[in-house]
Amino acid sequence: MNDNEKYIQEFVKDLPFDAPNPKHRDELKKELLSTFPRHRLQPAGHTVGIWRTIMKSRITRLAAAAVIVLAAIAALNFFGETSGVVWAEVVQRLENIKTISYKITGDLKGMPGIPEGYVAHSTQDVIVSYEQGAVRIDSAVQTPGGTRKAQTHILFKDSAVFTVIPDQKKYFKVAISDEQMQKIGEENGDPVTLLKAMLEHKYTELGRKTIDGVEAWGIEVSDPKLGTKMGSFISGGVFDETTLQLWVDQKHELPIRIYATGSSKDGRSLMEMAYDNFQWDIKIDPARLKPEIPDDYELVAQGKWEAGKEGQEIIEVLRLFVEFADGKYPASLKTMTVANAIAPAIKKKFSADSGKPSKELIARLMKVDMVGLMYTTLEREGKDPAYYGDKVTAASPQAVLFRWKIDDNTYRVVFGDLRTEDVSADKLTQLEASSNVKQK
């Protein structure tokens, strides 16, 4: 302790200050409790099988990872040649950024892996290296069974996503084709493309706000089509509405906070996430970006997502309903609808047999969480998909269950028995009319 410190310590010694007032303490307590957030009052969580927890935890991680990746990229590319006072310099700064770290905190409800009605509190520490093409996410999600911790590594150069669960000595691997990786990069990495996507939608300048004592300027994009236009990762096929708010520190001209919110029309799915503690151009040990998988860790399942095969992958998911759910298909291809429809059937099957699903089956089930994403990809790419699971079952082999466009004038039609046929647009109109699936 130097002289100045000793001097001040001596100076402040024994100074009298107001003591806490019990009356204020009690009044504030009442006030707080009267406004305690109602959505926090949790119902008891369902007990889920361990395999399902494992499977879904990966899925949750991946879904979250996807959101994070977009947010990170969005943070870098939100601004382009706008006429704002600050934006041009923000763009310039962001274009030169090589690494970022930040924290995400928030609540998730109705996402894969989270029991119905439960609001899971999630925290994620993220590091991104654009030089190395890698992202690491250390996440913790509170569920009724305790806190689930995992590390997710997205390796763009290797076109792979790893999720490691150290507590259980297990890991998952999802391979994403080079083409798909490239597509993700092109669609989300190009500032002009992203800016155009934003400008095509209504966006709002939010003005100034003080965040953690820092003067910030904000912009908000809120549009039902935001998810699909901006890569669909934010919605991931789970939410009907998404809003992205970005606040930039005016002094340093760098993003200081991002708020991402999403909700489904039925209120069953919700996401309220805040991204902050941004640190730019930090030094990152390359070893931290590579997954550490000890030899005794078990590879639970491997998945694959290839660009251009979304329709086929969806059929594979629908096949699960023929095998396990008596051919009764999910009412829609929203991720949560599909997950909620297949989960009881699978659970019943394996609790009755006291068996354990094979790795192959888990790999197939892993595709469930991507259904919404795959469907929105078809929409985004103008492939005119339509799905009629609310009207068609496996018992209607001639009815059109699902279709998408495979070239300018040809549609691939999937019938109730999952048979496929490529037909012209005119023929499709006839088939749909005879199936009585179109809304009148």
Binding site: I8, P16, T35, R40, A140
Partner: protein, 191 residues
Amino acid sequence: MRVGEDDNTDLIRKACRDPDAFAQLYLMHYDVVFCYCVRRLFDGHAAEDVTSTVFFKVMHHLSSFDGGATDFRSWLLRIATNAVNDYLRDAQRRTQLTEKAVITTRTESVFAIDCDDKLLDRKALLKEALLSLKPKYQTIITLRFFENMKLTEIAACLGKKPSTVRSWLSRATTKLRKKLDAAMDIRGSEQ
């Protein structure tokens, strides 16, 4: 990990969704927050206002706290620091507080028990000097000398590097000492 820390960690977790647990957590930490605020603001009513703000923030953001019981105090003080700084950021309010600091000193003495005049004078000088510093320096001084936190604890609380905190502390103590010395010189020459 200290004895009882597990219990506290459990309590924090429960408090995210259980109002009773939250109430318990609140009662355990009300004094910590109030005392910090009153040492930053030198005004009991202002400290109560800011304490209220702090606990509403805590209630809405408790789920984002992911540390153990030992980190909870730092987390609370970080929120309190931001709330106090927000409060002080209103320049007019800051001026009023500084002025009030001087005016109320003598009034306080009427109600003061076990406080001699010298202590009240010293407090008045400190108020004036401290509130004229930048909020970050005020924060450092309060955490270091009133909360008795180590540099590393302050760094964790503020989310800054220890080296930054050390540098801030050095500047803050130098500036504060100069102001206190100057104020005492003036006081001496007036008497």
